[in-house]
Symmetry: C2
C-alpha cells in the first residue's frame, strides 16, 4: 500500500471510502480535467460538484475578492445573501421565494424534513428503498443503502423505487400506478401507526436509485395521493438542479409538479460548501415559528459570492443549453454502442446511465465494476450506481463538450470491446 | 424599516434572527475590526469565527492558492487533509489521532452522538438544561433553549447546568457533587427506561450555559460516574478550542480529562465552513463499521488549506499566549469596574462574562440588553448569554490586544455609568 493510503487509514479510519481499486491521487483541476500526481490527465465524467468546471476563474475570483473583504454570519446585515437569494429564487415559481442557506445538502434535507413536521404536526416520512439523501442522523433514516446507526425508526417507510429494467408491475405504465399505490399504502400504515404522514422526500430524476427512466408526469398520480393525504413534497434537487438536465433549471419543472420544499447542495457554489432550502412563505413561517434555526456559516458573504458567480457562469456560458445539446449528442452515441451486455441506456441532459446485464438478464455488477476500473486506467473518471451497482454513472461538469463526449465514449467502446 | 431588513424578511422569513435592535450592516472586516456600510468602525468583541482576525491575509492567501488549483472530494487521494489532520491531531493526546472532517460544528456533533451509539449500542444521551450544540434534527434534541421540532424524545435527559451566582446546592463545592449526582440519576433513568446510556455531550467551559465559573477538576466526580456507566464523553470544543482559553489548546486539557470524542467547528478555518470530529481508533472503527459516512465537501483541499493556515497563524503569532496575557489583563480590569449591578465577573483566556443582577440579586436581563445596545452604539460589538441573558459575553478574535481591551472596557465603564 502506498504511503498516502497508509496515512489515510491511520488518520481517517480503515473503512474511509475511496473511488477505484487503485485510488487516484489528484493534484490539479481545470474545466472538465483533473490531473494526477503522476502527471496523468483525466477527463472528469463524474463530478457534479465542480458544476461550471473545476477551478472556474470567475468563481475563484469571486471567492478571492470576498474572502479579502469580509466573511461573517447573517446576524449582521449583508447584501450578499439577499442579492444571491433573490437571483436564485427568481429561477423558481413565484411561490417558492424564501430561502434558508446552509453548508451541505445533508443540512438542507435535515431542515426539509423538519419543515414538513412543523407544517403538518405529523412525523411519518416516505422515501424510496434505494436512495440516499444525506448523512445526518435524521436524514440517514432515509438511507436505503445501509441501515442508520441505531436502526430505522418506525416513522419511516421506504417504497420500491422505479426501475428501468424490470419496472414495478412489468411495464413503465404499470409502474406509474404501482408507485402511487405503494405510497398510498405507506401513508395508510403511517396513519394507522399513529405517526401520520408528514412528507415524501425524493429526487425528481431518482438519481441515486440508478437514474431509471421516468418521464414527465410519472409522479402525477403519486402527487395526487400525497396532496390528498396532506403531506409535503420534499424535492431533493441536489443532483438534477442548476440545469444539469439540460431542458430546465430544476428536475421538478421537467417532471411537472410544484414541490413544497426544494433542497440544493453539491453544485450550488462549484465546490464551496453551500447548500440551501427554498420554500414558500407558509412553510417557512411554520418552520421559523417552531424552531430558532441559525447556521453560523450558512449564507456567509464568501459562500454567497461563490454561489452568485456559479449562477452567473451558468447563464453567461449557456451551460443549460450546452447540457441539452451535448446531452442529446452523447445519448445518441451511447445508444449506438453495440454490446450484448448493455441492457439499457438512458440520459437526461448531462446525466447518463448505461446499465449492464448478463446473458440471462441479471445485473452484471462485477462487469460494471471492471468497466469503471478500466475507464480510469484509460483516463476517464466515472462510476457505477443502482441497486446492484450495474449502471455506469456519467455526470460530468457542465462545460462538457462534444469533443469531451467523443473521447469518453470512444474510450468506453474500446474498453467494452476489450472486456467482452 | 430599512430596505435591507425588508428584503431579509421577504427572502429569509420574518423570524430570521439578527443581532441588535438596529442591526448593523457590515461591509468589511480586518483583524479585530468590522466596518459598517455607514462608515462606522466597530471593535469586534464577540466573534470567535474569525479566530485569527477578520480576513487574515495568510488564510485568504491559502484559500486563493488552493481554490485556483483544485477543489474536490476525499474519495480521491489528496495530501491536504492528511497534512492538516496530522497537524491537528498532534495538538491532542496521542490516543485522539483519528479524524472526520465535515462542514459545521452541528455536523460534527451529529456524528459524535452516533459514534457513542455505535460504540455502546445504547441510545440515551445527557446534556445540560441550558445549552446548545447545534441545529440538526438529532443535535437539536440537546437544545435546551427551545424545544426541537416534534418535541424532545424520551432518550434525552437535560441536567441542571452549573451556575456562578446561586450554584447548585448553594456553593461551588456542593455544585461539583450535585452535578455528578444529577448525571447519575439521569443515567439510572435512561437505563430504567430501556434506552441505556450512550454519552454525555458538553462544552468543557459551559460556554452556552452562560460561561459559569468552573475550575479544573470540576467534572472529576461526574466523569467517574460516566466511566463507570460505560458512556462516552463527547466534548464540544467549538467554543473553547484552538487556544481560546489562553492556557491550553483545548478546554478538556484545562478542565483535566480525556474525552472519547472531540468536536470542532466555528474558529477552525477562520470562517471557511469547516468542522471536525477527533477521536480514537476504537471509536472510529465502531462508527465506520456501523455506517458508511461520507461528506462531499468535508475535508476538501480548499477547506484544508484554510484550516491549515489558521492553525499555522495561531502558532506563528503566539495567539494562545496572547489570549492568556490579554485575557488576564482584561479580567483584572473588568474586576475593577465599580458598578452595583455587576453580580459576577469571570474570564478564561479571551472569553469573558459579566453578569448583572438587580438590587435583590435577580437577573438584570433588560439592563444587560440595554448595555449590549449601548455598546453597539458606541462602536463595540458584543452580546449577552446565560439562562436569563443577563451575562455580557465578550469573546473577541484572538489577536485582541491590550489596547483593544482598554477601548472595550473604557467604553463599558462609560456605558455602565450612563445607564445606572
Amino acid at each position: 500500500m502506498n504511503e498516502i493510503l497508509l496515512r489515510r487509514n491511520k488518520l481517517l479510519g480503515e473503512n474511509f471510502p475511496t473511488f477505484y481499486e487503485k485510488p487516484v491521487h489528484i493534484v490539479k483541476g481545470e474545466g472538465v480535467w483533473l490531473y494526477g500526481a503522476d502527471g496523468k490527465k483525466y477527463l472528469d465524467c463524474y463530478n457534479n460538484v465542480p458544476h461550471v468546471g473545476h477551478c472556474h476563474p470567475k468563481v475563484v475570483e469571486a471567492i478571492v475578492k470576498q474572502a479579502k473583504t469580509l466573511n461573517t454570519h447573517t446576524r449582521y446585515l449583508h447584501e450578499g445573501i439577499l442579492d444571491y437569494g433573490e437571483s436564485l429564487c427568481s429561477k423558481f415559481s413565484k411561490e417558492l421565494d424564501q430561502l434558508v442557506m446552509v453548508c451541505t445538502g445533508s443540512e438542507a434535507n435535515d431542515i426539509a424534513l423538519r419543515m414538513a413536521q412543523a407544517v403538518t404536526g405529523k412525523s411519518g416520512f416516505i422515501a424510496t428503498d434505494n436512495t440516499y439523501h444525506g448523512n445526518t442522523g435524521l436524514v440517514s433514516q432515509l438511507s436505503a443503502r445501509r441501515p442508520p446507526i441505531g436502526g430505522y425508526k418506525d416513522n419511516i417507510r421506504l417504497v420500491p423505487s422505479p426501475e428501468s429494467i424490470n419496472p414495478l408491475g412489468g411495464t413503465y405504465e404499470s409502474q406509474i400506478d404501482l408507485f402511487a399505490k405503494n405510497i398510498s399504502i405507506a401513508i395508510d400504515e403511517l396513519e394507522k401507526d399513529g405517526f401520520g404522514f408528514a412528507g415524501f422526500m425524493f429526487c425528481p430524476i431518482f438519481a441515486n436509485e440508478g437514474f431509471p427512466t421516468v418521464k414527465p408526469g410519472f409522479l402525477d398520480k403519486t402527487i395526487e395521493v400525497i396532496r390528498k393525504a396532506g403531506g409535503l413534497l420534499l424535492c431533493d434537487e441536489v443532483q438534477p438542479g442548476f440545469g444539469r438536465i439540460g431542458t430546465h433549471w430544476w428536475g421538478h419543472e421537467w417532471l411537472g409538479f410544484e414541490p413544497d420544499v426544494v433542497t440544493l447542495g453539491k453544485p450550488m457554489a462549484n465546490g464551496h460548501p453551500v447548500g440551501a432550502v427554498v420554500t414558500c412563505k407558509d412553510v417557512m413561517d411554520s418552520f421559523r415559528s417552531a424552531f430558532g434555526y441559525f447556521n453560523t456559516f450558512g449564507g456567509n458573504p464568501v459562500s454567497c459570492a461563490a454561489a452568485t458567480a456559479t449562477l452567473q457562469v451558468i447563464e453567461e456560458e449557456n451551460l443549460i443549453e450546452n447540457a441539452k445539446i451535448v446531452g442529446e449528442y452523447s445519448l445518441k452515441r451511447l445508444n449506438n454502442i453495440s454490446n450484448h451486455l448493455i441492457g439499457d441506456v438512458r440520459g437526461n441532459g448531462l446525466f447518463f446511465g448505461v446499465e449492464f446485464v448478463d446473458s440471462t438478464g441479471k445485473p452484471a455488477t462485477k462487469f460494471t465494476a471492471r468497466v469503471v476500473e478500466e475507464m480510469q486506467q484509460h483516463g476517464i473518471l466515472l462510476n457505477s450506481i443502482g441497486r446492484c451497482r450495474n449502471t455506469l454513472k456519467m455526470r460530468p461538469p457542465m462545460p462538457f463538450s462534444k469533443e469531451n463526449s467523443d473521447l469518453a465514449i470512444d474510450t468506453l467502446e474500446f474498453v467494452l470491446e476489450k472486456l467482452t
